[in-house]
């Protein structure tokens, strides 16, 4: 579904991603794990078109998306749930959701209504709070709203950036349960997480990033058992283990 080859990307002169290749198959949950600054968010932002790649190829559902404007990418079926939720605080929950469904405009009101109902079924709490300002929701509810807003456009691929950040463990469990449910309903998920353990427990495959490069990849159960993953997650550098010896 998504194929990336030799992606290089960054901010100005700062090169963050150095030759990253990865892919996501339809119906999979693929997780990207790694320490702070490993390039996980940069990868999602580059796929979403928010950052222009300096080189490399990105193909989504057979279409080249390098250099495509960010507002055109959701229409292809690829949406991003940004880190820190970023819901529209002064708008109500339902208004936030309707905004998320703006690309359904052509399909008419009934489709939009159906989509709203689908999201309310997935996140019943949002239905209870449909008229409340988004800014008054708890962190967990805001995360659910951000996910529901992304799902409004009926995407094939949902990219989630650190959905567990700043949430209580019980809420994190709920969020991850929904992620699994989405996969079971046939959606594809690309999940960026610092919480490697939680992410690998729900994912099918994973890539481990270290300073902008993929250093390890494999099936989620395999990575979960890997000593190196634990180290990457803890943010320790190999130098700490090697300098004495190498």
């Amino acid at each position: 579904m998504l194929k990336i080859r030799n992606l290089q990307s960054g901010y100005g002169k700062l090169k963050v991603l150095k030759n990253v290749s990865m892919h996501v198959e339809e119906g999979e949950i693929v997780t990207i794990i790694g320490a702070n600054g490993a390039g996980k968010t940069t990868l999602l932002s580059t796929i979403a078109g928010l950052i222009r790649a300096t080189s490399g190829e990105m193909v989504f559902k057979g279409r080249n998306i390098d250099g495509m404007a960010p507002q055109k990418i959701p229409a292809l079926g690829c949406v991003m749930v940004p880190e820190g939720r970023q819901v529209f605080a002064p708008l109500s929950v339902e208004e936030n959701l309707i905004l998320g469904g703006h690309i359904l405009k052509k399909e008419g009101r009934p489709t939009l209504e159906r989509q709203l109902e689908t999201q309310y079924a997935l996140f019943p709490i949002l239905k209870e709070r449909r008229n409340q300002y988004a800014g008054t929701l708890s962190g967990g509810e805001q995360q659910m709203l951000a996910m529901a807003r992304a799902l409004m456009s009926k995407p094939a691929l949902i990219m989630m950036d650190e959905p567990s950040t700043g949430l209580a463990p019980l809420i994190v469990q709920d969020i991850f349960r929904v992620i699994v449910q989405l996969r079971d309903e046939g959606k594809t998920v690309l999940l960026v997480e610092q919480n490697a353990k939680a992410a690998l427990q729900v994912a099918d495959r994973g890539y481990v990033f270290e300073t902008g490069q993929v250093v390890l990849q494999g099936s989620a159960p395999e990575l979960l058992e890997d000593e190196e993953v634990k180290r990457a997650y803890l943010g320790k550098d190999y130098g700490e283990f090697y300098d004495g010896k190498a």
Partner: protein
């Protein structure tokens, strides 16, 4: 452009993404974690980000057996020792043994690879598998054992026994599959014939030949004499193990397990990559190994990549393994032995380097061994036969210990070595 197949490594386009991802992460880790690889990359002025397609692999430097020896024991490990769960020692082909490490994941991969190869050779959980390998291939014995156990077959592990005892086990334990070298299989066949034993009285059905390529005539001979079907496996005796290429049910070629190894064929003299179908030296790069990544390892084995698809369903790269070698390694009973290794063994035993020595595989009745001829000179000569015999014995013991294969030493005149065109 993305779907363009990577030509010289001949991985189909739909699998090339996965293989490229594995290659890139292997290189990234090797570059970060192994100073030897980092240095070699830097000498060539490249870093892993220059490798953007499978074809780019040709820009990377080769790794040779000499490098393995120079980095003895842990210099090529890419993970800290505490992540290593097994350390294998193979006799190697230089003064130092070859050491390879495995993480738990690596062992899992090997077990499944060997199991896949065995399954391809028709081994099922109902089979009883007997392993009979020389001490020089002892590490393979363990790998075959774990692979067969993973598959669910019953295993009679590798044990040092006389041919007679091996035959007894084969008759009484009723193994259906035997894993051994073509040389040893021939020795068995000859033994059965000499003793007048009928192979039809045994339960043996499958013979898995490892360590050296058996010629079609040799296979016909063994199939006839032992009443079995033969299957060929290919592996590396030093690292990381056996069965990285194996025959499918068509038995027409070897399939390289290219989910885990990327094969290339090069000109052994120039190091240039050869077009598909040409015979050259087989070079392998590991794709999934964590503890001991090998980058463009020169196997010394000669092979060619077969361009056509196989009749079987499997889409792995096909190779034909050739009997010749591109280096000065002798293959004695499937065990690789380097001339230099033998010479240094002789030197160690005699306390001096022999002026002339030559070595080759030989056979006496059914037994195959390494024969060494040493030219007698003034320094070596003694007028006491006992003394000469003692010297020969020390050389034999030393080389036997170093290489793990049976050895016979003969003292010869230089002229007779020349006359036999062995000098």
């Amino acid at each position: 452009m993305m779907e363009k197949p990577d030509t010289h490594v001949c991985i189909p386009a739909d699998r090339s993404q996965m293989v490229l991802e594995r290659l890139q992460s292997t290189l990234n880790r090797a570059f970060r974690n192994v100073s030897f690889h980092r240095q070699r990359f830097q000498e060539k002025g490249i870093d892993p980000s220059n490798i953007q397609a499978l074809d780019d692999i040709r820009r990377l430097p080769f790794t040779t057996r000499q490098h393995l020896s120079e980095n003895y024991p842990y210099g090529l490990f890419a993970v800290p020792l505490r992540d290593i769960v097994r350390i294998h020692t193979a006799p190697g082909t230089t003064a130092n043994p070859t050491v390879s490490g495995y993480t738990r994941q690596d062992l899992g991969i090997w077990e499944s690879m060997v199991a896949t190869a065995l399954r391809s050779s028709g081994v099922t959980p109902d089979d009883i598998l007997q392993i009979s390998l020389d001490p020089g291939l002892a590490t393979w014995g363990r790998d075959y054992q774990s692979g067969a156990e993973t598959l669910g077959a019953s295993v009679i592990p590798n044990t040092l026994m006389s041919v007679e005892k091996q035959v007894m086990v084969m008759r009484d334990y009723k193994p259906s599959t035997l894993v051994t070298t073509p040389s040893y299989a021939q020795q068995l066949a000859a033994h059965l014939e000499n003793k007048g034993l009928d192979p039809n009285g045994f339960s043996l059905q499958k013979l898995i030949l490892v360590g050296e390529p058996a010629s079609p005539e040799q296979r016909d001979f063994l199939e006839d004499k032992l009443q079995v079907r033969t299957w060929q496996h290919f592996g590396l005796s030093e690292v990381p193990g056996p069965a990285l290429a194996y025959e499918c049910e068509t038995r027409s070629c070897l399939h390289v397990n290219d989910d885990h190894f990327l094969p290339e064929i090069i000109d052994p003299v120039t190091g240039e990559v050869l077009p598909m179908g040409h015979v050259g030296e087989l070079v392998l790069t590991t794709l999934t190994t964590r503890a001991y990544p090998l980058i463009r390892f020169r196997t010394g084995d000669m092979a060619r990549i077969l361009p056509d698809a196989c009749d079987c369903d499997c889409r792995l790269v096909r190779i034909e393994w050739r009997p010749e070698r591109s280096d000065r390694l002798l293959r004695i009973r499937g065990v690789k032995v380097h001339e230099q290794q033998i010479l240094s063994g002789i030197e160690k035993a005699l306390g001096m380097a022999p002026q002339h020595a030559c070595m080759f595989e030989n056979r006496y009745r059914e037994k195959i061994f390494l024969e060494i001829w040493i030219a007698v000179d003034k320094a070596l000569f003694s007028d006491e036969i006992k003394m000469l015999e003692a010297r020969m014995k020390t050389v034999r013991d030393q080389v036997q210990e170093d290489t793990g294969v049976p050895v016979i030493v003969r003292l010869k005149e230089w002229a007779s070595i020349v006359a036999c065109k062995l000098a």
